[in-house]
């Protein structure tokens, strides 16, 4: 994996970070293009990098070969040894200068057009189907991690580094790893929240679609439906009956309502998969969809 890169990247600002490392906006000083540098500190022993890190990077590189239009490009990987015990792995991603949060804030007061919402959702699901078909669960889909180019192309960022980030995952038992929070339905739920968010008009800055917001679409699930193995108690939430969906998301067409409810299905095993969502009628009959908006 060791790779010496002759390209020079110069950080210009810090844009993210956590216990694992830091994310910088940087510039390729040769091309002038911005990149996102994501560096991760990993512990090394006499065998070099941990196998989990090597696998994770190999996976990202394999994904990159598909050149999928809806995931962010991985341009380079560099490993720098800091000490006997520590190596810094730096992933160089294409930088996109707009995220979905910013894009939605710029929407006119009347909201996004129906065609635009449909196109965005289609691209988002395309990216997600690609990740899921390669056994990558995003786990943190939110407007800040969904990038939108100036040409309106959606690109998913911040995926696939779970094993680099939290090596302790290896020590967790399979029943924990297989728990719903580690499986693909979590991404579909998040996508459903984002779908609902796209229909909102006059949005205030800083409001993000939250679990309670989405609960207003489906209503508070019953005691029986509430999972028993979770720390979040059902009592935390006010018991709300489901609001008419057209009140929460006005202007949505009937196919859209159907798809949204399938994505926001409380039981992860009943929830629609990303691939089936992409096949949904909502994306099919363009004519009926445009007729209803006229």
């Amino acid at each position: 994996m060791a790779q010496t890169s002759s390209i020079h990247y110069e950080p210009v600002a810090e844009i993210g970070g956590g216990a694992y490392g830091t994310v910088y906006k940087a510039r390729n000083t040769e091309s002038g293009q911005f990149v996102a540098l994501k560096s991760v500190r990993v512990q090394t022993d006499q065998n070099g990098l941990p196998i989990s890190t090597v696998r994770e990077v190999a996976l990202l590189r394999r994904l990159e070969q598909f050149d999928h239009p809806n995931v962010v490009r991985l341009m380079d990987v560099c490993a720098t040894q800091r000490s006997d015990q520590e190596t810094k792995v730096t992933l160089v991603f294409e930088h996109v200068d707009q995220d979905l949060k910013t894009y939605l804030e710029k929407a006119p007061p009347a909201g996004l057009s129906q065609e635009c919402i449909k196109d965005m959702m289609k691209q988002l699901l395309c990216g997600l189907v690609f990740l899921h078909s390669n056994c990558v669960i995003h786990r943190d889909l939110k407007p800040e991690n969904i990038l939108v180019t100036s040409q309106g192309q959606i690109k998913l960022a911040d995926f696939g580094l779970a094993r680099i980030y939290s090596l302790t995952l290896w020590y967790r038992p399979p029943e924990v790893l297989l728990q719903s929070s580690y499986a693909s339905p979590v991404d579909v739920w998040s996508t459903g929240c984002i779908f609902a968010e796209m229909f909102r008009r006059n949005r205030c800055t800083n409001c993000v679609p939250s679990f309670p917001t989405c609960l207003s679409v489906i209503g508070l699930p019953s005691e029986e439906e509430w999972p028993s193995n979770v720390t979040l108690s059902r009592k935390t939430f006010r018991p709300v009956p489901p609001r008419p969906i057209t009140e929460v998301v006005p202007e949505i067409d009937s196919q859209g309502v159907q798809l949204l409810l399938k994505m926001l299905t409380f039981d992860p095993f009943e929830r629609i998969s990303a691939v089936n969502a992409l096949e949904h009628q909502y994306f099919k009959d363009e004519e009926t969809a445009t007729e209803t908006t006229k």
């Binding site: 600002a13 200068d97 707009q98 995220d99 910013t102 800083n206």
Partner: protein, 126 residues
Amino acid sequence: LIMTLEDDLTTAAATGNAAAVEYLLETGAHVNGLNRFGRTALQVMMMGSLSVAQTLLKHGADPNVRDRSTGATPLHDAVRTGFVDTARLLIEFQADPNLRDNKNLRPIDIAKLGGHEEVFAFLETE
């Protein structure tokens, strides 16, 4: 490592957080102050964020500041990333469309090279 208000300001600008940019400017961050990488907020802002650009420019951000390594101005970068509304706003606030970067390129040359037709057409009228 000590984080200054300007480090926070550039981070807020680069992540498109206009509310944080506004707040930091009100609490004493210098709009043209350099972060620890030697860049101002306008230089590193999320180019697609019109509200961040607007907030910074209204507070007197210098639109003609050059990147210390490449000589690019914020207008070069708005054009490179294809955001015509940001480019228009920068010019409204006196960004000079004729400045050249270290490769002797003007923003309009970057628009042409990058195939950003809309931005190119706009710059032609300037």
